[in-house]
């Protein structure tokens, strides 16, 4: 405990001399593997330049039925990639729940970073594969990161162990219980920008809201009170980069820069996952024939 406190004091001292915090953000990657190499290159470039970097995702990274081939095999590989590039946290998106509880638990266990969701509470003896928030100790500042999920298109009948609560109340609760040592409160909200703005009005203590779900692109971050709101489109087309001068005394944080760094598509192996998709279809046809014949 003492070394941790000493580390916090030391980090605060470093922050007090003006080390900025760079927040790299993605959302709604939806298994778009063609852009991952380019995203990784961008992340490495920023890390080479900046001292203190936080890498986060606002949800829907692991699933997309619009791409049935990658939807049957891609999640494991996406988790591996996110581990490899060193994500610090990810919010749970509605699509990430489409794996079903058993598979989602396996994916979450494989992730080296916490999966966050504060507004879906565990009910009874159900074990959920996520936590409400996490504290990340960057070299610039301690950050409290809280996750939120949209209520839209949730497969809630398949998750009897989850109870949805209001996002504002959930965030307030996390701030009340966990924000003691944090200089910055970052919410990864799998919510559209408009909903994120409502949340910022309801909980003005939030410093930064990285939003998702709506696939919006905020070239200019939205400012509500003292809260900055950003979103980087979808499918990995951009890597969001926001640089903040964090006030270690809990005062106002100054936005130094925000930009969306474009990425490029690379060719991917065609037909990958075809065998697995065929297995799914064959089994589905077998069941259908058994029912109908």
């Amino acid at each position: 405990m003492v070394p941790l406190a000493a580390a916090i004091v030391l980090l605060r001292a470093i922050a007090a001399v003006g080390a900025p915090l760079t927040v790299l953000y993605t959302n709604d990657l939806h298994l778009r593997f063609a852009r991952l190499d380019s995203l990784e290159h961008r992340i490495e470039e920023v890390r080479a330049e900046a001292d203190s970097v936080l890498l986060v995702d606002a949800g829907d990274a692991w699933h997309d039925f619009r791409r049935p081939l990658t939807a049957v095999w891609g999640a494991d590989e996406m988790v591996s990639w996110m581990n490899q590039v060193g994500y610090d946290a990810m919010a749970l998106g509605n699509h990430d729940l489409y794996w079903g509880a058993l598979r989602l638990a396996v994916l979450a266990r494989a992730a080296d970073f916490p999966i966050l969701c504060a507004n879906a509470k565990q009910v009874g003896s159900a074990r959920v594969p996520f936590v409400a928030s996490t504290r990340v100790l960057t070299t610039a500042t301690p950050v409290l990161v809280i996750g939120l999920i949209t209520e839209e298109f949730l497969p809630y009948p398949a998750y009897p162990g989850l109870r949805l609560v209001g996002p504002a109340g959930a965030v307030r609760e996390e701030i009340r219980h966990r924000a003691t040592d944090a200089d910055l409160i970052l919410v990864l909200a799998h919510l559209p920008v408009a909903d994120a703005a409502d949340l910022a009005r309801a909980v003005p203590e939030i410093d930064l809201l990285v939003s998702g779900h709506s696939h919006e692109t905020t070239f200019e971050p939205l400012r509500i009170g003292q809260t900055w709101i950003v979103q980087s489109g979808a499918f990995g087309a951009y890597l969001g980069k926001l640089v903040l001068d964090v006030d270690p005394h809990g005062g106002r944080h100054r936005l130094i820069a925000n930009e969306l760094l474009p990425t490029e598509k690379a060719p991917t192996a065609p037909g990958r996952g075809l065998r697995r998709l065929l297995s799914v279809l064959t089994a589905a046809v077998a069941v259908a024939l058994f029912v109908l014949r």
């Binding site: 729940l97 794996w99 009910v123 009948p157 162990g161």
Partner: protein, 182 residues
């Protein structure tokens, strides 16, 4: 929310009778191991009660009682759980044996199954769950020759799937059910 309200009203006004979601009709095991669920129902054929217990992440035991069948017990065993989005389960019980498959597409879930034996039947349905608090089940079932449609509404008063009120409509009338995870 409006579209759900409109649909509910359409069911009440247009059909005026109902039945419950088909018991054991999908292939997924939803509750954690050790979880117990109870459902009581009232329909044109009288009251019915169903009790189910999750024995393991791949097996659920379901017992039911109704005027037509005083006691039946069956097990649902998840055969295929690794080919997400497809789940396939075997149904083995005193009322017959069968197979059910579910294509789990998040807020849309498609299930089809067939049971052979004493209570032979076939069914297929789609469940839509776009908003917390209510989901809709549309499908058909066949006891012998010919399919008949059914529709059901599942209402989750606490915005979770722990407790639910089910209202379903079939050719033989309305069925109202109350079910919950103990």
């Amino acid at each position: 929310m409006n579209r759900w309200v409109i649909f509910l009203v359409a069911i009440w006004v247009g059909v005026g009778t109902s039945a419950a979601p088909v018991g054991g009709a999908h292939a997924m095991i939803l509750l954690p191991a050790g979880g117990t669920r109870v459902e009581i129902a009232w329909g044109m054929s009288g009251p019915a009660v169903e009790w189910s217990r999750i024995v393991s992440p791949r097996m659920e035991v379901i017992a039911s009682s109704s005027p037509a069948d005083l006691f039946s017990i069956r097990a649902k065993v998840l055969l295929v759980g690794e080919l997400v989005p497809l789940f396939v389960a075997a149904l083995v019980g005193t009322d017959g044996h069968g197979v059910v498959g579910t294509l789990f597409l998040g807020p849309v879930e498609v299930s089809a199954g067939r049971r052979l034996g004493k209570s032979a039947c076939r069914w297929a349905h789609v469940q839509l769950a776009a908003e917390p608090g209510v989901s809709l089940v549309l499908g058909g079932e066949a006891f012998g020759e010919g399919w008949q449609p059914f529709a059901a509404v599942r209402i989750f008063p606490q915005r979770d799937a722990v407790w639910e009120i089910g209202l379903s409509i079939r050719g033989d009338g309305i069925r109202l059910s109350l079910g919950g995870w103990l």
